[in-house]
Symmetry: C2
Subunit: 301 residues, 2 copies
């Protein structure tokens, strides 16, 4: 029977959400936990953690071994949404149809909730990394220690936060295709790539395979972003869940601006092809990862 | 010749400041680096990193081996000041006699600068933790991997961020001594303790010695906080560098409120005595650490 993506995603989302309820260190104040859980448990596709688990399986490892960086990356994604929505940033009142974090808990608590999620993400990886001198020879601990660098680099000033700064600076100024690629590689691509790379590391991949999966994720992440830009101008607001043309309205250069709709679609298809070629040699172990890449790029919503 | 603390602190401050200029990952945008350096390189006593280096020496290790967590903790301290000063938090316009970060770079950039410092702190530790499978047998890498958990726990929702939430909730409400101790243990004590513990870990201390140094830091951190409260009511504004009685004005319960001035002084002296007793067995290696503890508690400014 062919691989069924929908039930796979549903089951993995349920696993991730059950685990996200257990990430808090003992002693975190109830009020802070409420504010963080409001955003962390607000649904969403859970793409980053699911990619990490699928990458661990793709290299012949066990999905559950990749849980720590998987959860950490979702916590970091959640913190970034809380801080992005703040009045001093995008000033959004709604996120996924609900009031944004600062509208419910106030700006001060929203800043702290984001800070807590970001820091606790490293607590989650650190709990596994600490087992580096463990009785099992410390294999998982050593792998988690390597993930600390991947996650911190992807989320920090040379990754997501830096990309956010470049994006703000670029708003209202026409960008070249290369500038667009650089912003997206840092702002949104880096966490996707870290998810896949950390999954591969935790699954026990050798260095060559880790780099092969890194290239897979870079191509797939770029294709995903290009299709996002295409859908922003071709789909109606109801399908998008946000106003059609919101990128243009926000003064952002898009891949449609620099490539045209057909050119952008062709570029995204090329990204998907290159991504799939990187993991072709992994065979049946990579069937979920391949299916997710197709789902991310060959889509109409 | 007796140990001279002043030249020691001066030399260590210079070392820490030189190293803080090199913490950024390649590819972090210039505008973001400017905003983070404005706060990170704005001076300060550099107590946390100096404590980490001194703790490494106290256990017979090398100070330079503790640099990664030392720098990380200073970056985290710096991010916490940037976020604390924001209008939605303490709304401060001045810090160390200069305009606060958001007054110079705007609130959005100040939030991002804090986020970047916090994340890059784990990048700095992660670079060493990655060497867990290194050619030296990975000793430093393994130690750094253990520091990830110490730092993340101390800075996150069960540490500094959680303490900040408790402190906000307590403002304007009379606290018991135990409640005060709990707030300070999380809000300010946890980073002090992490500095000493990570220094000991990086210096190669055995588990018993690490726990001994943890108790040293808990006592010393509490004594430091108690003396802060005493000085807030006994010193004039010029000596303090902030208005006298600012804790009471901010609606905070202090150790002077619950113990009286003489009681608080006696409690601080007791903390110092207990702290020094924990490291007495370390002998001459711990002379800097002892001197710093005395300097932190037996002071009048």
């Amino acid at each position: 029977m062919a691989f069924q993506l929908e039930p796979y995603l549903k089951e993995r989302r349920a696993l991730v959400e059950a685990e996200l309820k257990k990430v808090y260190p003992d002693g975190s104040p109830q009020a802070l936990r409420e504010a963080t859980e409001y955003s962390l448990l607000a649904g969403g596709k859970r793409l980053r953690p699911i990619l990490a688990l699928a990458a661990a399986e793709a290299v012949g490892g066990r999905a559950e071994d990749a849980l720590a960086p998987a959860l950490a990356l979702e916590m970091i994604h959640s913190y970034s949404l809380i801080h992005d929505d703040l009045p001093a940033m995008d000033n959004d009142d709604l996120r996924r149809g609900r009031p944004t974090n600062h509208k419910v808990y106030g700006e001060g608590m929203a800043i702290l909730a984001g800070d807590a999620l970001l820091t606790d993400a490293f607590y989650v990886i650190g709990k596994v990394a600490k087992q580096v001198s463990g009785s099992d020879g410390g294999a998982l601990g050593s792998r988690a220690a390597r993930c600390v660098l991947e996650v911190a680099h992807a989320a920090g000033s040379a990754g997501m936060v830096g990309g956010q700064v470049l994006d703000i600076q670029a708003t209202g100024k026409k960008q070249t295709e290369q500038q667009l690629v650089d912003i997206h590689r840092m702002k949104t691509g880096a966490l996707f790539v870290a998810a896949v790379v950390c999954g591969a590391i935790m699954g026990g991949a050798n260095p060559d395979t880790v780099e092969r999966l890194r290239r897979f994720a870079q191509h797939a992440g770029l294709g995903f972003q290009i299709i996002d830009d295409v859908l922003d101008v071709t789909q109606d607001s109801a399908t998008l869940g946000k106003p059609q043309g919101s990128d243009a309205a926000a003064g952002k250069t898009t891949y449609v601006d620099v490539l045209g709709i057909d050119g952008a679609k062709a570029r995204a298809a090329d990204c998907l092809k290159k991504a799939l070629a990187e993991i072709d040699a992994l065979g049946a172990n990579a069937q979920a990862l391949s299916a997710i890449a197709k789902y991310l790029i060959d889509r109409d919503r």
